[in-house]
């Protein structure tokens, strides 16, 4: 598995509080490179112009929501290998199924714990390292 401390993360959420929480938790986990975007459109622009290793995204956001961001990333041959973990308050089963079918690497419902985020990120990276 890649050295987590060297990986570049992008946290996407329209609420600055949640971005700070996720960024803080990732830093506690040893991730030193964490950027933020406040909606899907800004995130897509950043992903296209920077080399990110992992995206953590909310779903319900203005301009471009998390589903559209996920689909845009997965539709781009240069970006589709980037794991996208959805962290959202959307708790409908159909949203979870849609996220997975659209290529999400994982799905976390808010409110969540540090342990849940850590577990999902590590499992996704392990799966990626194993070629999954």
């Amino acid at each position: 598995m890649s050295d987590l401390s060297q990986m570049k993360f992008l946290v996407v959420d329209d609420f600055s509080t949640m971005r700070r929480i996720v960024r803080g938790l990732l830093k506690e986990m040893g991730m030193n490179h964490v950027d933020e975007a406040e909606d899907g459109a800004i995130a897509l622009h950043m992903v296209k112009n920077n080399k990110y290793d992992f995206v953590v995204s909310d779903i319900n956001m203005p301009n471009m929501n998390g589903f559209d961001l996920l689909k845009a990333i997965k539709a781009d041959p240069d970006l589709k290998s980037i794991p996208v973990l959805m962290v959202t308050a959307e708790a409908r089963k159909e949203d979870i199924v849609l996220a997975v079918q659209s290529g999400a690497a994982g799905y976390i419902v808010k409110p969540f714990t540090k342990a849940t985020l850590e577990d999902k990120v590590i499992k996704i990276m392990q799966k990626r390292a194993a070629g999954g």
Partner: protein
């Protein structure tokens, strides 16, 4: 036509001018309130009803209350750890200043103090993480507040239409398909939503994920 005749014929009784005056006052109050909130420019439809707004407001009260409790509990624990360290530091400093300790005893006391500081520091770091995590209420309640504000805007719009047309307005429209719902404020008894991460993981596992 008197009210009795109107009722017998199935026609709606004519509302008195006072009713429309009151409706006008209510609409004006709502308009002013929304202006104070700074949300007038974005008129949005809301399909939610007033009972739903009540449960959403209850959800906000519950989430903010829980967050406040978590923060205050964590602060209490952190302050206790801080007080313990301060007391231990004062005790050690006093012993060293009074030169009551032998070299060996002094080293042991310092090591014990360092160990205590390290343990307390770890606990305080956890308390700070708990305080940070408790702030997630802002995101969750913010989404719910946006829904309630949208409802208020819709309500105002309906009242304005009612006044303009002087006739009963249509009820709130059906929610547009595909609309994202935000936090589920009443998950009890629902089978279309998950209520915790464990249920998400079970659903994903059932899909072979």
């Amino acid at each position: 036509m008197d009210p009795t005749t109107a009722a017998a014929s199935g026609a709606a009784p004519a509302a008195s001018p006072e009713v429309f005056q009151q409706l006008g006052q209510i609409t004006r109050q709502l308009h002013d309130t929304l202006n104070h909130l700074g949300v007038m420019p974005k008129l949005r439809q809301s399909a939610e009803g007033l009972p739903d707004a009540r449960s959403r407001l209850s959800y906000i009260a519950k989430k903010t209350g829980e967050a406040a409790d978590k923060v205050l509990n964590a602060v209490d624990l952190a302050k206790q750890d801080h007080a313990d360290i301060s007391a231990a530091a004062r005790k050690l400093a006093a012993a060293v200043a009074a030169d009551k300790l032998s070299a060996g005893a002094s080293a042991a006391a310092v090591l014990a103090f360092v160990s205590q500081v390290e343990a307390a520091s770890g606990r305080m770091d956890q308390h700070l993480t708990d305080i940070m995590m408790a702030q997630d209420f802002h995101d969750l309640t913010g989404q719910v507040v946006a829904k309630v504000v949208a409802l208020a805007i819709d309500l105002e719009d309906s009242l304005v239409k009612l006044l303009v047309q002087a006739a009963p307005s249509e009820l709130a429209p059906e929610p547009p398909s595909g609309e994202l719902n935000g936090p589920v404020v009443n998950p009890e008894g629902r089978t279309d939503v998950v209520s915790n991460q464990s249920e998400v993981d079970d659903l994903l596992a059932s899909m072979g994920f």
